[in-house]
């Protein structure tokens, strides 16, 4: 969560500088700058995920060295899950919490002609992002562990795609549907990477031992 926060800080710093350096009345330019800010932020987030991976790697080496039986008490997969979850929760919290606070107060959604589904779609989008961050964490760390660069680039590309799809909001079908499809794909992929299989799933669902 902290690392995500720092990445957000740096990306907003860049955006802020860009905004201050340009004319605030130029609408398309501002929107363009915002898009640039978003893309830059995505890249920065992934960079920080990588840095976090490096940090955790060192921590695991330390733990292994200190432990009695030569293996660390927490595996890298667990760390990947937790890291992804932390990223996702922080990102979700930052996206939603002001919305939620405002939703408690009086008001009408979309009274000025905007979409009436604003809160709903925000909620769904945030949820899908949190899930995605968790899965991306697992995929990313797995890719780093086994040196499979294509996995890492796939994660970055997915992140860019999801953020990019939000640019067609409020045409929600353009953003929510692809995001959910990507989430399903990422979920399946992460599940398989973590050692799951169709057989495991069937056994779990049928409550066999």
């Amino acid at each position: 969560a902290f690392f995500w926060l720092v990445s957000l800080l740096l990306s907003s710093l860049i955006w802020f500088i860009a905004v201050k350096a340009t004319d605030p009345r130029d609408e398309p330019l501002q929107k363009g700058l915002l898009i640039f800010g978003v893309m830059f932020s995505v890249l920065l987030q992934e960079t920080f995920r990588f840095l976090y991976y490096k940090l955790l790697r060192k921590a695991i080496e330390g733990l292994v060295a200190l432990s009695e039986d030569g293996c660390s008490p927490i595996s890298i997969q667990q760390m990947a899950y937790v890291a992804g979850l932390g990223f996702g929760l922080m990102s979700g919290a930052f996206s939603m919490i002001n919305l939620l606070a405002d939703a408690l107060g009086p008001g009408t959604v979309g009274i000025h002609g905007d979409s009436q589904l604003y809160f709903l779609t925000s909620a769904f989008m945030t949820m899908v992002l949190i899930f995605l961050h968790t899965f991306w964490g697992i995929l990313f760390f797995h890719g780093c562990e086994h040196r499979r660069w294509w996995e890492i680039t796939a994660v970055v590309a997915m992140h860019l795609a999801v953020s990019g799809s939000t640019f067609c909001n409020p045409l929600y079908v353009g953003s929510l549907v692809p995001s959910y499809l990507l989430m399903a794909a990422a979920a399946a992929w992460a599940y398989l990477l973590s050692g799951g299989s169709a057989q495991n799933l069937r056994r779990f669902l049928l409550c066999k031992s």
Partner: protein, 468 residues
């Protein structure tokens, strides 16, 4: 509070210390400063405590080296547990403060300033405001320094009764007066009709149970809850009565002071710790939050913090028993408790009652000196001043930030990460450490950065419904 000359809030200054088993001096000293203002006088209570682990002068060189390695391992292993044990109370305190700030408008209304910050911030020019806030912060810090030195002097000359009386009066103030005001304001906010008799009964019960729990014996959870509550009350008072720029400046300067006072050889807190260690006593446990209870029958040395004293700011690990039989050291005095009380407690150590009382084991049990070393029993201690200042930072962030919840959340995460890092350093350096600097620095950086940089960005993103 309508009068400026009303009681001053106390604040405490704390440090983080850790205790290791191989350090047989399990006297943990906590550094804390407490500032209290009685109607006519100002007093400052400073209790620095630090524990030193791995003292170089141990005679147990080779034998202990292996122990030290194992201890390091154990420490790092249980480090995560310690961190969690501290996260929960710090989070609770912050949650209480933020919830109160958000709902009860009393604490965000400007009703004057404390007598310690006489310069107003409602000035015409920015320069004037900056100057005033710098002067305010300087006055506050000098009061703190004076109080610290006064406490060190009192401690050096063994005026324990004075210190103990000071602590009792300050906790009385907090538990009765401030909670009465708090309750009144909460009732006003929710428009609850309440008669004086019920209020008197509630406050009386709350206060008396609090005094007993904190200064004497009581269930651990209750004691922890009371400590969190009084920290939150104190933080709320600070948030209300400190103007903006003064508050931020004070936070910054306090963390610098904490760093200096704890780590410099001539710093008052460090001197206090060293004096306490020379005398093999624990410093005032009154101002410390402790996270575990030690149920050790045969303990060579127990964490003195577990005593009922008002918690202070300092953290340290409680260690379960030391290896050496510390027969010689009588329990350090408890700041005013009489010797008879001490003896009684020592004799009672056999059947341990459900109190975190842990100090008295050594003298009372000369024969069966089997110290069961149980690393699971180690606890962590954090001074109350740390709680207070963390909560002040988060509370101010939630009260006055334009980014509102984003800023609050960012400061919260920053403070927790700072606490993690401090505990990590504690595990590495094994000596008393100030808990304020890292967390407060992170918190301040994140507050200003989030408020000014992230907030417009997130606003724009939310407006267009872009997601990053």
């Amino acid at each position: 509070m309508t009068e400026l000359s009303a009681h001053l809030p106390q604040f405490q200054h704390g440090q983080l210390t850790e205790n290791f088993p191989d350090n047989h001096l399990s006297n943990t000293n906590d550094n804390s400063e407490r500032r209290r203002h009685d109607t006519s006088e100002r007093r400052r209570n400073d209790n620095p405590e630090s524990e030193t682990n791995g003292q170089p002068q141990n005679n147990i060189q080779q034998v202990v080296e292996q122990d030290e390695e194992e201890d390091e391992e154990l420490t790092l292993k249980y480090g995560a547990k310690h961190v969690i044990m501290l996260f929960v109370p710090v989070t609770l305190c912050m949650v209480v403060v933020v919830a109160t700030i958000k709902s009860v408008s009393f604490y965000t209304r400007k009703d004057g300033q404390l007598i310690y910050t006489p310069f107003t911030e409602e000035t015409e020019t920015v320069g004037q405001r900056a100057l005033n806030s710098i002067l305010n912060a300087a006055i506050m810090i000098s009061v703190i320094i004076v109080m610290t030195i006064l406490l060190v002097v009192l401690y050096k000359y063994r005026c324990y009764k004075v210190i103990h009386g000071w602590l009792i009066i300050s906790s009385l103030l907090l538990l009765f007066f401030f909670s009465f005001i708090y309750l009144g304001e909460v009732f006003k906010t929710y428009n609850v009709a309440m008669d004086y008799i019920t209020v008197a009964l509630m406050i009386w019960n709350f206060g008396v149970v609090g005094m007993i729990c904190i200064h004497w014996k009581g269930p651990l959870r209750l004691q922890q809850a009371y400590l969190i509550m009084i920290s939150a009350l104190m933080a709320l008072v600070f948030i209300k009565y400190l103007p903006e720029w003064t508050a931020w400046l004070i936070l910054a300067v306090i963390s610098v002071y904490d760093l200096v006072a704890v780590l410099c050889p001539k710093g008052p807190l460090r001197m206090l710790v060293e004096t306490a260690q020379e005398r093999n006593e624990t410093l005032f446990p009154a101002l410390i939050y402790s996270s575990t209870m030690l149920w050790l029958v045969n303990m060579a040395e127990v964490d003195p913090e577990a005593q009922r004293k008002a918690p202070k700011n300092s953290t340290y690990d409680k260690q379960a028993p030391a290896n050496q039989a510390q027969n010689e050291e009588a329990e350090a005095d408890d700041g005013g408790f009489s010797q008879e009380w001490q003896q009684q407690r020592d004799n009672r150590i056999g059947p341990i009652e459900s109190t975190p009382e842990s100090r008295a084991a050594v003298q009372a049990l000369p024969s069966n000196s089997q110290t069961s070393e149980d690393p699971e029993e180690r606890g962590v201690k954090l001074g109350l001043g740390d709680f207070i200042f963390y909560s002040v930072l988060v509370g101010k962030a939630s009260a006055t930030a334009s980014g509102d919840w984003n800023t609050t959340l960012a400061c919260f995460v920053a403070i927790l990460i700072g606490l993690c890092l401090t505990l990590l350093l504690l595990a590495i350096f094994k000596k008393a450490l100030p808990a304020l600097p890292i967390s407060i620095t992170f918190g301040l950086v994140f507050y200003f950065a989030t408020d000014n940089l992230v907030q417009p960005f997130m606003d724009q993103l939310a407006f267009h419904q872009f997601y990053i």
